[in-house]
Amino acid sequence: MKVLGRIILLATKHRWRLVGLYAAMIGGTSASLLLPKLFGSAIDEIDGILNGGTYVETAIIGIALGILIASLVQGLLGYAQTYFTESLGESTIYDIRNTYYQKVQNLSFAFHDKQHTGNLMSRAINDVQSMRGFVNQGLSTTPHVIVLFVVVTILLVRLDWKLGLIAAGFLPIASALSVYVRFHLRKAWIRFMEHMGNLSTVLQENLSGVKVVRAFGIEGYEEGKYERWNSKVKDDVVLATKWELAYNGLLRLTFFGVMAGTLLYGGHQVVGSNLTPGELGQFFFYLQILMMPMWNVGGIITSTARAVPAGQRLFEIIDMPSPVQEAPNAVDLTRSQGHVRFEGVCFEYSSRRPVVNNVDIDAAPGKLIALVGPPGSGKSTIVNLIPRFYDIASGCITIDGHDIRDLTLKSLRRNIGIVQQDVFAFTATIAENIAYGKENATREEIVAAAKVAQLHDFIETLEDGYDTELSERGSNLSGGQRQRLSIARAVLVDPPILILDDSTASVDAHTEEQIRLAMEHVMVGRTTIVIANRLSTVHKADEILVMDDGSVAERGTHSELIERGGLYREIYDLQLRPQEQVLREFDVPMPVAALMEAS
């Protein structure tokens, strides 16, 4: 109920559309309620002639004209009602879409780590549509049905109170039924939506992971996974249809009962001369008016049943507080000197063990800090804390002495350039992709950045050069090209602080060498924090932090660490010495052979 109320509240923001809707509805309904009366008069007029009355052509033509005028008003206002209803629904979902979009865009990484894109999309597409359905049905159809019920019942009771009561008896039956069915329908639709979500996840992963599927020959296994949800989706729809049918069937049968009762009782009244044939006719015409919106009751119930879970799912996101909040009195960080400090920083992803534990870093302006360590040792997490993609649990991170939580997110991130591990290209031209962080960049700046990132020569070979459109996620670029695109992006922003996350891992030695040289130029005058698996990219660091299980195991310059002979030395040795020799030194028992025999 709360959800429905909130949807209605959102719709009522569009006041003038709502006013227009109800004005048109009242006018149009009044006109349409005149028609049965006019039809009845026509029948009585003709009945009069049959019973020996005089034939007055002008009276008949008058009635016909009345019908025409009433229909004209009904039609035009019907048009207005439809227009206002649709535009009300569309305005509402227009608002919701914008709100949802902005929310999703601003929720922190902690949120996105847990959400499937498909799931967020399905909310934006299907759930938003369900809401629109409810706005239309709830704010337009439902009041229309209620008004018709009340007014028609009053008209019928005034015509003949017994007949009127027969017709009105219909109302309580319908509402009792609807409450019962709504409950079951809602359950059926929730199940349907869940199963549809699962189906689309299986499909999406199968398509995105097609190489793995082919490489392992597991097509049959995948079909099994898919089939499970596919058949559930089918069963869900059939079940929901059964409920709708049961409801509709009973409703219509009741209605036919009312008509039969009217025919029998009304017939007796006409024979007893208590009712004219025209009045009996009126009765039927009114009942028929009642019938039309009655057929819509099924739709109202379905749309309400869908709107509640849909609304819940949408509002859940819209209301979600972002774990990363800007302080109310946050200040703008102007161009930073680039002094980044971590003091006793701890961080944990929700409900897991700490991934960053009591880390201290002091990156003076222009210095290069390198993070080294095994996977999962917390390197990526540390760099994600600086732009506040996640908020730390304890300790403090400062830039030029300002706690980053006291700065506006925008100004903070403007000062930080990031080359991420997963490179994302947008459907736009290459130039637009490079200028993603700096919209008003000139073509010269873009070209310069591309040159630094060693991407310019490649772009020049393309037919449309910088104006080449990239397709979905830049799938027409290779991994190395996308990575250089990401570097160009960061270069263009010209940030005082630069974060390189594994940025040169998947390019060949030749390209890597080029990028390395380029990056050396870029780093000049910037504070840079590098994560790299390759020592060749970090050896020039002013300080190297060797991470192990979330903590700093060792720190120092390259030569200091080499001398110390600890974990860093070990990694260093592994990189330089021939593999053969290493393998001989580490005589670890290999249980794999045992496994192979077993299987």
Partner: protein
Amino acid sequence: MTTAQVTAKAKRDKEELVDGVERYGKAFDSRIFGRFVHYVGPYKMLVVIGILGVVVFSLSQVALPWIIKVAIDDYIVPGNLPGLWWIVMLFIANAIVNRVAGVAMDLSMTKAGQGILYDLRAEMFSHLQKLSMSFFNKTEVGRLMSRVLGDVGQLQESLQVAVNFSGELVSLIGISIAMMFISVKLGLLAMSVLPVLAIVLVFWQRRAKKSFIRARQSISDVNGALNENISGVRVVQSMNRQDRNAVLFDEKNKNNFNAVVDVTKISAVLIPVVDILRAVSIGLVIVFGARMVIGDSLQVGALFALILYIQRFFDPLRNITMQYTQLQRSMASGSRIFDLLDTKSDVVDSPMAFDLPKLDGEIELRNVKFGYDPGVEIIKDVNLHIKPGETVAIVGPTGAGKTTLISLIGRFYDVQRGSGAIMVDGHDIRDVTRKSLARQMSMVLQEPFLFSGTVKENIILDHEEVTHEQIVVAATAVGAHDFIMKLEDGYDTELEERGSNLSVGQRQLISFTRAIIADPRILVLDEATANIDTNTEAQLQRALKTLLEGRTAIVIAHRLSTIRSADKIVVLQDGRVAEMGTHDELVDSDGLYAHLNKMNYAALESTRV
């Protein structure tokens, strides 16, 4: 990707878009319709019941006013009250028939329809399993998703429409006949406004079509923007693009709003048109009916029934026009669905294909030539012989064709007959079933891919016979066990989308474990260690040494240290084998390999000073 590929792909995308718009218009395409009929087969009985239901339902609807007419003219007006009871009974009986037929119609059509949609979804999915990588390179995942879910969903909508449509058609015919029975003259008079309606509809259709297309395009723009920004949210936030993106999104959103409101404005035109024409029709019947009454050729009940019929007559007409647009959409969807189903895979098992026997692991490439696009050869005449159990490293600059070469060995693409052959244990891989090849060859790819589900499910895939101990042994061997145990639920930890709660290196270690569990004769590693840190890599190298024993292995790596221990190093350059030999041989020969080797170490050497 090469320049040519990039341009070719952009061109294809554009063509497909134009194609889609042109195709959209058709509301009925006998070719597509004929194919749908084929899917009805298994549900024949249900459809027959459904059609019977439609006919009976519609006729009982038409009978309703007629029964009331008879009640008024033959029983109420003459005052025959006992007879009225019988006629009311008849009315109730008709109502029951109406309901039973209605339920039979809806339920059987829903069951048949859902069955067909289920079949279509399943067929599309299993068809997608058969298509080769060249198809997936050309086709975006989002587009395929919208084929399988969106377009099939459109058909679902049409299903209900089709049932209603046929029902309305039967009612329309029934009503026309009933009106003519009451009075030919009044019946014709009532229908005299139909030509006007027909003319209005023709003009309306033309105008409406355009706005429907615009609305559909605008909503796909909105969804496209949304999808991209959710997927790329990390870049958006790090580049501070939220405000600008919100403006861009609002533009698309607004555009969609306008397009949809425009559709409403146009489609709602039919409301006043139908209301007025109906009033004219009823007015004519009343005026002329009154005149006829003088000649005693019309009864009150008959006039009453006529008005009821006319009121019913126009609703089906209006609905049919509204449903027309839904049918258009379905036809477009149908044609896209069949296009997908008709896409031929260029890697198909030949009818004579046999399952590979257990392999020794000998691989031979004979004069292999290959290109993705005609005229652009990526692999130019490669000859290579790999003995069983040998480890071969493939090196070379970007674009040399390394990944393409191993994709051919894994039969992601087929080498065209006449462009050389790839033999495994002496069998041409085009003559064997793809599955039997895939089962004996494991690949660890550059970008690890994990599915939703637990770590364990991702390791075993379809090898359900594997015990937990075997999994632990395999994971320990590649150095994945320790971090897996640190996860919340160990091996039973649910992975977030594509394993985003793991680092790339960790994901890669899981793919390694997966490859071990598959127990292949041939192992292919495509830059598989690029994202793994040095420490883990050393451990992995040790594990691999044992793992590779007795298996044939092909390794692509940029890190020369990884490659050194290979039995043979193949240096690819521009689609050809430039050099081949052991590490020492190649270093001595002072060729491309020697150069790459020097470069990789130059950086570190310099620090020693």
